[in-house]
Subunit: 318 residues, 2 copies
């Protein structure tokens, strides 16, 4: 078994902003392309460099992301930007190949039922079809980050065995992916499942960097980040303002929140490259565009050392 | 320096329910005494045994808790129950002495400005007055848990030095307290401040058990619990449904949520003694009584292995 070592303090942690993809795709009302670009640019201006900007999916399936090419062409990429898009199939890979992304995030589910429902084919067929997807992308010089949805549990089948994650990760490694991204699609990740998943993948596919993609559906998203850090993982996805959310659990929050994650990492002794005040401004812009309160907590409470009005009075609050 | 060892898996972690005190006190509308008793009883029925049930404060200062004696007299205490109340001064200690609590939670702030505003006296005066409070309580056979508010930061002064926590903890130890409770009054705790506070207190007052009382104001409450566990702490306060909240930060959540905490602990390999389904029922009752959506996430999303409707259709969600 691979040795487990926590991430040392002072390490630069990668935050990959997925709000423009995982967040926006859940929104029913079409967000104007120019607004999507403004939000992405504000996130870059706050110091974020990794961004999953859109999906190359059928516009019939996800009308919100029908403007994938325009968004990609419209954003201002700062020095060091790393822009990715989600691709569910060969058709998506072909669109991505000419669209100017640095990497593609492929996707299939660890659970049979979820893959059937989401991608309309069994897991083994999805795995077989990756050959053609990787051919197209490597031909275009595009890096592939191998995504695994329902990695910590399936809302139809329940528990997902780590061996299934290991099997998929090994296939990704054999195909030449640089990383594997474990998607907590419906917020079922817990410290023990995260630990087991990381260890199984490290054993099966030691050549892959592990990316963790948590949802805060059950309130433990950032606690799972603490487990990831204890297990040595340095890459986390998050969505500005905590955008996202599962359409099947009313009121449940979505992805872990980018600015809350950046705050946690900075206050745990890690480097993020992010200016927290500017990131909160970007979240306020996203909230304004979306038009409803987002679940992010820093957005409501402000930075840690924001002072109360000195005239406030209190009463024995304990 | 004391050695740091994480809490071993399988350990029983104490969850102290503080919703009836820290949660209810923030509610503007008076909650009928009988409803308070019903909620407390539902929490006991879910397996919780430690509960901070009320405060013995001036009814003018906190009218919501004017029924302290009636609530205490009305609850059904199961085998093993440990019922505490907050006491800010000698008058409160005298009321608590005859009211049938197992322990009293005293309170003073680590920061001068917060103590002046909350208790109307300097920290040193509060420390000096503890003699009389401890005399009354030990005379009545009541255990004292020494509370320190604003332990991880003050909303007026900013950073609170760990040396100040150490000084107060040592005073509590000298007086005969069994534990010290670090209160994250306005949600400023972070992994690094929690770690520094625990280590400073272990060095200064090794005879005291450390209790951690986090608010989720900035989203990192349960991440701070992970730090506490890594530092060997086995006692955490939480409020059912995530009740509480700071009246000065609109929309900010309050205490960490009891059922989300129990879920995290169970899914991290610890014992809690809690039946999660019954705990979610108790949270639903509290939400119903309070009459607005509470911040707890399990309350919205349900238990981890709750299945989706098998007829649901999905579309390339990744």
């Amino acid at each position: 078994m691979a040795t487990v070592a926590p991430v040392p303090q002072g390490t630069r942690i990668t935050i990959c902003e997925v709000g423009p993809r995982d967040g926006f795709q859940s929104e029913k009302t079409f967000i104007p392309t120019q607004k999507k670009i403004e939000i992405a640019n504000a996130l870059f201006a706050a110091g974020l460099r990794h961004m999953q900007i859109t999906s190359f999916v059928s516009p019939r399936a996800v009308p919100q992301l029908a403007d994938a090419e325009e968004v990609l062409a419209g954003i201002d990429r700062p020095e060091g930007a790393w822009v990715t898009a989600l691709v569910p199939n060969l058709r998506g890979a072909e669109r991505a190949a000419g669209a100017g992304v640095d990497a593609v995030h492929t996707v299939l589910s660890a659970s049979e039922t979820h893959n059937l429902k989401n991608l309309n084919r069994p897991v083994d067929q999805s795995l077989a079809e990756l050959d053609a997807v990787f051919d197209v992308l490597s031909g275009a010089g595009i890096v592939v980050e191998g995504g695994i949805a329902t990695a910590f549990g399936c809302p139809f089948e329940g528990i997902v065995p780590p061996e299934q994650l290991a099997r998929i990760a090994r296939r990704y490694q054999d195909l030449g992916a640089t990383s594997v991204s474990l998607g907590d699609t419906t917020g079922m990740a817990t410290p023990l499942t995260v630990q087991a998943a990381i260890r199984a993948i490290r054993d099966a596919a030691p050549g892959l960097e592990i990316h963790l993609h948590f949802h805060n559906t059950r309130g433990v998203g950032l606690a799972c980040v603490m487990t990831g850090l204890a297990e040595g993982v340095t890459h986390y996805d998050a969505a500005v303002g905590g955008l996202g959310g599962c359409p099947f659990a009313a009121g449940a929050t979505g992805n872990i929140c980018t600015e809350d994650l950046a705050y946690l990492l900075q206050e745990s002794g890690y480097e993020t490259g992010v200016d927290l005040d500017h990131l909160i401004d970007a979240a306020a812009l996203a909230q304004d565009v979306i038009g409803r309160a987002l679940p992010g907590q820093l957005l409501k409470a402000g930075p840690r050392l924001k002072r109360h009005d000195p005239e406030l009075t209190l009463t024995a609050e304990g």
